[in-house]
């Protein structure tokens, strides 16, 4: 067996020194540290600073017995995951075996110990630990690689942002001078000159739109778009967009119709981004619908989603182009309607935005029969909202999911399990306390999100201290996303509370200017 770089450790707990030394000799091998303890107290104290592959725990000991030790181990997050094999000479009745499993024994063996059996059992646990360590190491490598990619992507975004800023100034100058000629401020232009300036101005606007769209797209693709989702009334958003487009549609005798059923459930999404998608889609429909045509905005429930459809009576899109329309810089030769030429980025942006909100954007159309662009958004629910909060918070950080933790602070209530998805998504620390100021940081991980129940005393003090800690560590720009939960909810049995909007103004003021997001 090859010597591993980092020796594995196991602990043997037994009140008899002769048992400890014989067992140690029996199990000794290269690359294995064997730690011994002669009592439950000694074992618990020693294991706090160790990462153990296995604990061989004698059941019958003076003072604290093996079951009590196991019980205390399970209560401490540092030791709760260590596997335990109970070793005992007596207590052979089933009843005792059961109480061992209740406190989390993995296995149970009896004295006198068969050397072959104990060695093979220990070997299994060492293998498990080795593969766990290997997995951890790979994860670290993976995170490092991800961070490097993110760095490259950041640099690209910085470049794009600087370049677009540099483009705006000369564009402003060109546009303003064309406009001065067009408006007759530097001499009266003739009709032909005026038309030339109109064309120049139109294209200045196109270039400006393009710069804005490129920045938008980059923000969305690199996950920096500061998105937080909330409960949305889609009927309201559709009405607003329809009203905005009203005058433009009227001017070319296009009809714009709304079809939203009464009692439509709410959706989960970001209102600004959803509006951006609607403006893009309705803008497209407006562009390609001929005079006298109609644009229809429809919303309906579809199983677990809401479905929005924007239908036009334009020339339609042949099926072979359906995938292509969502690619960047695609502009199909649909017979032009009244609208101006676009940037070729609108649908690509919309597609990304909808994806970001866990929906899908699609197209139904046949050549010559109008086009319907449709997208889905998940139905609003407290669980979906909470999930989205965590996912969006993750998207904001430059660290990988496993490099930071989410701290949930709630008052002392009966313990409940964390939902599985939450544990999978981020490292979560649950702190149950009556006083938030007693909450400390979590196992060296930076806090990137806090869910804080506002009824906990010292909630404000906790946020202030968190802020001070980050500032003193030079991370004042990396304040976590913070969510303050409302006062006592019925939902105490179920862990998933709904992050509600700006619950406590007082808390919001703690760091409103520091970029904390209150959902």
């Amino acid at each position: 067996m090859a010597v591993t770089q980092n020796p594995l450790s196991i602990m043997i707990v037994d009140d008899r020194p002769e048992n400890l030394s014989s067992m140690s000799q029996l199990l000794a091998q290269d690359g294995l540290d064997i730690v011994t303890a002669r009592s439950g107290d000694e074992a618990l104290a020693k294991m706090l600073s160790l990462d153990l592959a296995l604990v061989l725990l004698d059941v019958q000991m003076p003072g604290m017995d093996g079951f009590e030790v196991a019980d205390l181990m399970r209560r401490n997050p540092r030791t709760r995951h260590f596997p335990i094999i109970f070793v005992t000479a007596i207590n052979k009745e089933r009843r005792h075996i059961f109480s061992g499993f209740e406190v989390g024994a993995v296995d149970y063996i009896f004295k006198p110990v068969d050397p072959f059996i104990i060695r093979s059992k220990v070997q299994v646990f060492l293998e498990i630990k080795r593969s766990a360590l290997e997995r951890e190491r790979l994860l670290v490598d993976l995170n490092r690689a991800n961070r490097r990619l993110k760095d490259i992507s950041d640099r690209k975004s910085d470049f794009l942002s600087a370049a677009s800023h540099e483009l705006r100034t000369p564009l402003t100058v060109i546009k303003e001078y064309c406009s001065l000629v067009h408006d007759g401020i530097v001499g009266t232009p003739n009709a032909e000159q005026k038309k030339c300036m109109e064309a120049a101005l139109r294209n200045c606007n196109r270039l400006a739109d393009l710069v804005n769209d490129l920045l938008d797209l980059d923000a969305i693709e690199s996950g920096y778009s500061s998105m937080f989702r909330e409960e949305l009334d889609l009927g309201f958003l559709l009405r607003e967009v329809a009203e905005d487009f009203g005058p433009r549609c009227d001017s070319v005798e296009q009809g714009i119709a709304l079809d939203v059923p009464d009692g439509l459930p709410t959706a989960l999404g970001n209102p600004d981004l959803v509006t951006q998608v609607l403006v893009n889609l309705v803008g497209n429909a407006h562009k390609f619908t001929p005079e006298g045509g109609t644009i229809t905005l429809r919303a309906e429930r579809e199983e677990t989603n809401l479905r929005v459809a924007i239908k036009d009576t334009g020339p339609g899109i042949a099926p072979e182009y359906h995938d292509k329309v969502f690619e960047k810089f695609t502009q199909l030769n649909r017979k032009d309607g009244p609208g101006a030429k676009g940037t070729g980025l609108g649908l690509a942006i919309s597609h990304k935005i909808v994806e970001l909100m866990d929906g899908q954007l699609g197209l139904d159309s046949r050549d010559g029969q109008g086009a319907t662009f449709h997208f889905t958004l998940p139905l609003f629910s407290e669980t979906a909202h909470m999930r989205a909060f965590v996912a969006d918070g993750t998207a904001h950080t430059r660290l990988g999911n496993t490099d930071w933790c989410l701290v949930l602070v709630r008052p002392c209530t009966p313990e409940s399990e964390l939902p599985e998805w939450l544990e999978e998504t981020v490292t979560v620390a649950l702190r149950q306390t009556d006083d938030a100021t007693t909450v400390t940081a979590v196992e060296n991980l930076p806090v990137k999100a806090v869910l804080l129940q506002a009824s906990v005393a010292g909630a404000k003090a906790y946020l202030t201290r968190l802020q001070a800690n980050l500032e003193s560590a030079g991370h004042q720009d990396e304040l976590p996303h913070c969510c303050v939960l409302p006062l006592d909810r019925e939902a105490h049995q179920d862990f998933v509370w709904m992050p509600e909007k700006l619950v406590f103004n007082e808390l919001a003021q703690v760091s409103d200017s520091k970029g904390m997001s209150y959902v």
Binding site: R168, T172, V173, E176, S179
Partner: protein, 129 residues
């Protein structure tokens, strides 16, 4: 008779020149500065009814100019419109905190700019006894 004094501040000379032409044609008396320090001096000297201010400039950016002007008695009340290529959240926040009345991004529509100027000028006339 001039419709009022406007101070145009931008480090890009062509922007100053084109705005001077447009505002002059619209009947305003136009003064200009090309950096933060010049802007503060000119504002005190000319006492304009309105300032069009760029953010990214040498010798004190737009936010610094706003802060200085707000702390000087005779300029603290002058309405300011930002005319800038910058669009970060930070810039918007500083504009709001400094009491800047309008935030117009470059490239701008001259109609939008002129409408904003006229509404601010009308308001400042109302306020002046």
């Amino acid at each position: 008779m001039s419709k009022g004094k406007i101070l145009v501040v931008d480090d890009e000379p062509e922007i100053v020149r084109s705005l001077t032409l447009r505002l002059g044609a619209a009947g305003y008396e136009v003064h200009s500065a090309m950096d933060g320090l010049g802007a503060t001096k000119k504002a005190i000297e000319v006492q304009p009814e309105l300032i069009l201010l760029d953010i990214g400039m040498p010798a004190g950016n737009g936010h610094v100019v706003v802060e200085r002007l707000r702390n000087i008695g005779e300029t603290s009340h002058i309405p300011i419109i930002y005319l800038t290529a910058r669009t970060s959240d930070e810039d918007y926040r500083k504009a709001r905190d400094g009491g800047v009345c309008k935030y117009i991004t470059k490239p701008f529509d001259s109609e939008v700019l002129m409408a904003a100027i006229e509404s601010e000028m009308e308001r400042s006339v109302e306020l002046t006894p």
